[in-house]
Symmetry: C2
Subunit: 453 residues, 2 copies
């Protein structure tokens, strides 16, 4: 469960905090870029300056920056002189460089891009042409491709020459025909296990799964996860190989998408992290809160319809949030199950009736349970049987509303090709707030004579 | 975004629905087990029977079952005769078989296990000894290990003999010394690129990262994701290799953990899916709702402290849920960011002050924004300046409470080695409900003379 820092990182931080910089320098040289990438927030301002300078000196900055999410790169960059940053961008993989440039504030983006030189500029330019959440936006344009007429022995010889210059891990060799069209794939395993005089054509897997550059990144990640792939080739409209997406890219996408779902359920924008500045976090949250405020005002208006009833029996004011609140909780439960089921591909619109029916049954069941408990409590508290019965009926009714709204709203949003997590929690709590107050105060108004007698 | 069914799956379903069973049979034979695994809920009862029988006939059932989450296997198993199921368990990988058996109802578990034969029984028995959420619980006991004194050429020869019988993908060769202790790892890439007369000792990566069988699965998945690994070896206390965990296992764990976090934030237990029976879903949800009911009663008790004030000015009853509700929304925002930050390893207790300070600033900022808006609205609605001022003060105060609770509670839970997502939303909404009612009704009571004059 302890996910934060490992022992190596903690030891390094102690050295820095104790100003044992030469020891820290040696420790840093041994550390994995992914471990170093996590440390910036744990350092004081002066230590951060030393840290970044040391990463530059030891030529580790590129590796570290490649490991960072876009939202955390900006913090690093404030500490790096622009010319050094450009140098780093030229050293790292083109796809990482493109991600970093895409994450820069608009003003700097063009400026930094223009300063790149030659081949890296060309590669990065191509990648920047794809939207960041597509296959093209996450693919690496670096891969090993060979012609199918080569023998296994020749392929291995070529590989020795090529692989030494490669920056990224290679998992397999893509086989292309004379027109550069993708026709097959050969894994290292097949290469090792095949006699050297066989041709690649003989051992390759034909018609491998491939994706187009504008395919949604989520779809690609899902494909890699579902079929247990190590990489997926990306091909253009002429079936020519233009890049590949590896399983570690897929993991990043899956994490990103999980964060997005969790954030949308919590009424948050995606660019909101612990390390983002106050203003960057506060602005989008304020927007969501304002939308929520609208629904809260709606609920308040519902209540004020019944001020006459409340003024005659003020205890209702204390009891009414119980009905609306429990509806909100139960609705969130249904919503969460359906949103997650949609994200994991367990359900779609064609199963909507089945899903709604099941949630309805759960809502009815739990409505009876919770209604019974709160009914007894209300009776014990106020010795008023009618009030207790109103409480039971309102609770059962609102938990049914909660189940229907929680199941139906995300399914409908998906059917309309919207993100089922986005804003659905607002719709659901609006339904349960307004529904809860209407039911409880409406029933109370009907039975008010019995209640106050 | 369309994650549910792909074209192959949809075409297959059409064939089945149209009772074109012989075409469907041929289509099924070509389909990937992962694609087939998803389809059960989309079939009618009679179709399901045909489906499972056909999977058995085509010997695809094992592959399909291996792709299923434990919570979905039971549905399948109801359709398979026990003796057939035992046969399937003997064909699939030992780790998948162990997962399936671990997911069975307690009564059947021992019975099915006893019916396994020989080597599979032994392998499964060992794996069942580890908790399901540990490295031991998810590892595969099937791997390729060789002695370091072999040459590359000899290794390739051995591999040809071994690999043909292997059921799972092999990504690398583990190198063990004479005492079976893990000393290195050789990737296929290194094997391909090294001259055949070199020894494995010369080319292996020494002291590879390894984990113990009782390590938490989340930690292992995190390690694989962080260092972009394809697999991690599992070693016992004597440093002997006992299994390996591959990147596709890590992806499953990451998905599972994301589901767990989302569920805990939505007050749900983990075994609750769209396909789980009503009763299995309803029971744990009812438990959570009962806990929530406790906090709702607490909030109601807070309100009833002020029934005197409310009876003198009944409009307060309509306005008070705005303050508590907005606090709940803002608190959920802070909570979500901090819980996700903890899950992604971006933060730990040592950064607590920094995090709380930032959330406090966001809370104050948004408190002023939302307070101003609702203040103006209240004034326009009721033409009561004191009431509007009370609303502003209560809103700012409650959004500060929301920020503090949302940031502090998950950090504290992590510090206490609890799951920061579990139950924290209940603590936060209790704080914002009680806090909101206390602030708004308390201030109203203090200024009641000014309000009703």
């Amino acid at each position: 469960m302890q996910k934060s820092l490992n022992r190596v990182q903690e030891a390094f931080l102690r050295l820095v905090h104790n100003r044992a910089y030469s020891h820290a320098y040696n420790a840093l040289k041994q550390m994995h870029p992914a471990d170093l990438a996590q440390l910036l927030p744990y350092l004081q301002e002066r230590e951060q300056q030393w840290f970044v300078e040391t990463l530059l000196k030891t030529r580790k900055l590129g590796g570290v920056i490649s490991e960072l999410d876009e939202n955390k790169v900006l913090e690093f960059l404030e500490l790096v002189p622009q010319e050094e940053f450009v140098k780093v961008l030229e050293e790292i993989n083109a796809d990482d460089a493109a991600d970093l440039i895409a994450g820069l504030p608009e003003g700097q983006r063009q400026e930094i891009f223009e300063r790149l030189s030659g081949s890296q500029k060309k590669a990065v330019g191509k990648l920047l042409g794809y939207a960041p959440d597509t296959a093209g936006g996450i693919m690496s344009p670096e891969f090993v491709s060979m012609e199918q007429t080569l023998t296994v022995g020749e392929a291995i010889d070529q590989l020795r020459a090529k692989a030494s210059g490669e920056k990224e891990e290679i998992y397999n060799i893509y086989i292309c025909d004379a027109d550069d069209q993708l026709v097959g794939v050969v894994s290292f395993r097949d290469l090792v296990l095949s006699p050297p005089d066989k041709t690649l054509q003989d051992i390759m897997e034909r018609n491998p799964v491939a994706v187009r550059p504008h395919a949604n990144q989520e779809l690609v990640a899902d494909m890699i996860a579902r079929y247990n792939l190590l990489s997926v080739p990306v091909i253009d409209e002429n079936h020519r190989l233009i890049g590949r997406i590896t399983v570690d890219d897929a993991i990043d996408v899956l994490k990103e998408e999980a964060t997005e779902d969790i954030y949308h359920l919590g009424n948050l924008a995606q660019e909101d992290h612990i390390s983002t500045p106050v203003w960057t976090s506060a602005k989008p949250r304020a927007l969501w809160l304002l939308i929520n405020l609208g629904t809260a005002v709606l609920a308040a208006a519902t209540i004020s319809l019944f001020s006459e009833t409340i003024s005659r029996f003020v205890i209702l004011a204390a009891l009414m949030p119980i009905v609306s609140g429990m509806g909100g909780n139960a609705g969130t439960q249904s919503l969460t199950v359906v949103v997650r089921g949609l994200a994991l591909g367990e359900v779609d619109w064609s199963l909507a009736l089945k899903v709604i029916w099941k949630e309805l049954a759960v809502g009815l069941f739990n409505g009876v349970i919770i209604g019974a408990v709160i009914g007894v409590l209300t009776y014990l508290w106020y010795h008023n049987l009618t009030l207790a019965m109103v409480m039971v009926l309102a609770m059962v009714g609102n938990l049914i509303i909660a189940a229907l709204a929680g199941a139906f709203i995300p399914l409908l949003l998906r059917k309309l090709r919207q993100d089922p997590a986005l804003a659905s929690s607002i719709f659901v709590t609006t339904a349960t707030d307004v529904g809860g107050f209407l039911l409880f105060l409406g029933l109370s108004t009907i039975f008010i004579k019995l209640i106050i007698s």
